[in-house]
C-alpha cells in the first residue's frame, strides 16, 4: 500500500476539530461551557493547552505586527486637494486645463522616450521598510535631508527608519571605492531589534573628508543579522554592479533599501 494512504487527519476521536478550537480561541464571544466545544475544552487538558497556545501565539504576532500599522497600510491614501468652482474661475480654469493637458502630453511623451528601465515598479505585499536621513550642519537641529543635496565633512547625519513590523536592523554603507562602513548599531551586537513604526535610530555619524558617492543600506530581518555576512553580501553586490554604486539598484541585496548620497568639498 502506498504510504500516502496513511495521510490521515490528525484529529483524535471525540475531540473538536482544529477549526472549532480556533474559533473558540480567537472569537471573544465564544463562551466556555454551555456549548459542546466549550464544555469539552473545559474538561480536556490537551485541548485547553491548544487554545491557550493559540492565544499566546496571537499575542506575540500582534506585538510584532500591530493592528493600527497594518490597517493604516491598507487603508490610508493621501487626500487629494480640491477647490470650489465659481463662475469667475472659468477663464483661468480653462487656460489651466489646456496647460495641464499640454503638460501631461509632454510628460507622457518623455516617459515613453525614457525607456522601461526608468519606469516605476510597485511591489505588492508587506510595506517596504523606509530609510530617511536627517542632517545637522553647523550645530543646527537635525532636519530631513534630500539625498540629492551634497554633504560635506563635519556634517552630522542621523537615520530615520519606518518598519512595517518589529525587525532586526543594520545600517551600513559602501563608498565609491567599495569600502564598507558600519553605521547602526555603532558597536556591540551585530544588529539591533527595533519595533515597527517610524523612529529615529539612536546615535549619529559625523562625515569624514571622503569626497564622492556613498550608498547607505538599511537591512531588516525577522532574524538576527551578522555583520560579516552583510559585508560579504554587499561586496558581492558591488562586484556584480561592476564596482559602480549607481548600478547597485539592480544588484541591491534582498531585504534591503538604499539611499545614494553625495559628499563634496565646501
Amino acid at each position: 500500500m502506498s504510504t500516502i494512504e496513511y495521510l490521515d487527519p490528525a484529529r483524535a476521536a471525540d475531540h473538536p476539530s482544529a477549526r472549532d478550537l480556533e474559533c473558540l480561541a480567537f472569537d471573544p464571544e465564544a463562551a466556555h461551557g454551555g456549548d459542546p466545544v466549550g464544555t469539552h475544552v473545559d474538561g480536556c487538558r490537551r485541548c485547553l493547552e491548544t487554545v491557550e497556545r493559540l492565544r499566546a501565539e496571537r499575542r506575540a504576532f500582534l506585538i510584532r505586527r500591530p493592528a493600527a500599522a497594518f490597517v493604516s497600510r491598507i487603508l490610508d491614501v493621501k487626500p487629494g486637494r480640491f477647490r470650489q468652482w465659481n463662475r469667475a474661475d472659468f477663464p483661468a480654469s480653462l487656460l489651466t486645463a489646456f496647460g495641464a493637458a499640454a503638460l501631461a502630453l509632454v510628460v507622457v511623451t518623455a516617459f515613453m522616450l525614457r525607456g522601461a528601465d526608468e519606469g516605476v515598479v510597485h511591489f505588492k505585499g508587506a510595506m517596504v521598510p523606509r530609510l530617511g536621513l536627517l542632517l545637522s550642519r553647523g550645530g543646527s537641529k537635525a532636519a530631513p535631508l534630500d539625498a540629492r543635496m551634497p554633504l560635506f565633512e563635519g556634517d552630522v547625519l542621523r537615520f530615520e527608519v519606518e518598519l512595517p513590523e518589529q525587525a532586526h536592523v543594520f545600517i551600513a554603507s559602501l563608498d565609491s571605492q567599495g569600502r564598507f562602513s558600519r553605521y547602526f548599531p555603532a558597536r556591540g551586537a551585530s544588529n539591533a531589534l527595533l519595533e515597527g513604526g517610524q523612529q529615529v535610530v539612536p546615535g549619529s555619524i559625523v562625515l569624514d573628508d571622503f569626497v564622492g558617492e556613498e550608498r547607505v543600506f538599511l537591512f531588516t530581518s525577522p532574524a538576527p543579522l551578522e555583520e560579516s555576512a552583510l559585508r560579504q553580501t554587499l561586496a558581492e553586490a558591488y562586484e556584480r554592479a561592476g564596482r559602480t554604486l549607481a548600478r547597485m539598484d539592480a544588484t541591491r541585496p534582498p531585504a534591503s533599501v538604499a539611499i545614494l548620497i553625495h559628499k563634496g568639498r565646501r
Binding site: 502506498s2 504510504t3 500516502i4 494512504e5 496513511y6 495521510l7 490521515d8 487527519p9 490528525a10 484529529r11 476539530s17 482544529a18 477549526r19 480556533e22 474559533c23 480567537f26 472569537d27 471573544p28 464571544e29 493559540l54 501565539e57 496571537r58 504576532f61 500582534l62 505586527r65 493592528a67 493600527a68 497594518f70 490597517v71 497600510r73 491598507i74 487603508l75 505588492k124 505585499g125 508587506a126
Partner: protein, 166 residues
C-alpha cells in the same frame, strides 16, 4: 458597504494571526502568506456586508481559502520537491509525521490539485473536520466528499511517483 476602520482593526487584532497562519499552511511560503494576509483584509474591508449574520472567522477563512486557491491555480504544477517531507522517509507511516510536517505535505499536494478537491482537502486535513462536517460546510453529499478525498490521495500518489529517483 465597506467595513469601518475600527471594525477592520478589531478583526485584524482578533483574527489576523489565524488568517496568516492558514495562508502560510495553504501556500507553504511565508512571503506569499504576508501578501495573502493583506489581500484578504482588503477584500474583507471592501465586502464587509457579506459577513452579516455569520461569525467573522469562518467568513475570513473562506476569503483566505479562495484567495490562496487563486494563487495556487496560477502556479505551475510541480512534482513534490526534493526536500518534501516524504524524502528519505517515504516508506514510513505518514501518520507518524508531526502535524506541521503533515500540513506541509498537504500544502504541496494542494498546489497540484484542481479546485473542488482543494476545498474538501482543506476542510478535512487543515480544519480536521469529519467527512460529515465537510459535507455540511462544502454543501455536498458525504459520498462526494469521499470521492474527492480519494482523488486528492491519487494526486498525492502521482506526485510522489514523479518525485522518486530511479
Amino acid at each position: 458597504m465597506p467595513l469601518s476602520r475600527e471594525k477592520l482593526q478589531e478583526y485584524y487584532a482578533l483574527y489576523g494571526f489565524a488568517v496568516r497562519r492558514r495562508c502560510e499552511r495553504l501556500l507553504g511560503c511565508s512571503s506569499e502568506a504576508d501578501d495573502a494576509l493583506q489581500d484578504v483584509f482588503i477584500r474583507a474591508h471592501r465586502y464587509g456586508e457579506t459577513c452579516r449574520g455569520e461569525t467573522p472567522l469562518p467568513w475570513l477563512y473562506r476569503i483566505a481559502d479562495h484567495h490562496c486557491f487563486e494563487v495556487l491555480r496560477k502556479r505551475r504544477p510541480v512534482a513534490l520537491q526534493g526536500d518534501s517531507v516524504l524524502g528519505p522517509r517515504k516508506h514510513e507511516n505518514l501518520a507518524s509525521l508531526s502535524s506541521p510536517e503533515r500540513l506541509r505535505l498537504v500544502g504541496q499536494v494542494l498546489a497540484a490539485c484542481k479546485e473542488p478537491l482543494r476545498e474538501v482537502a482543506v476542510l478535512y486535513y487543515v480544519d480536521e473536520m469529519t467527512q460529515e462536517e465537510v459535507a455540511l460546510v462544502a454543501r455536498c453529499s458525504r459520498k462526494t466528499v469521499k470521492e474527492r478525498l480519494a482523488r486528492f490521495l491519487e494526486t498525492a500518489r502521482s506526485l510522489l511517483a514523479a518525485s522518486e529517483v530511479p
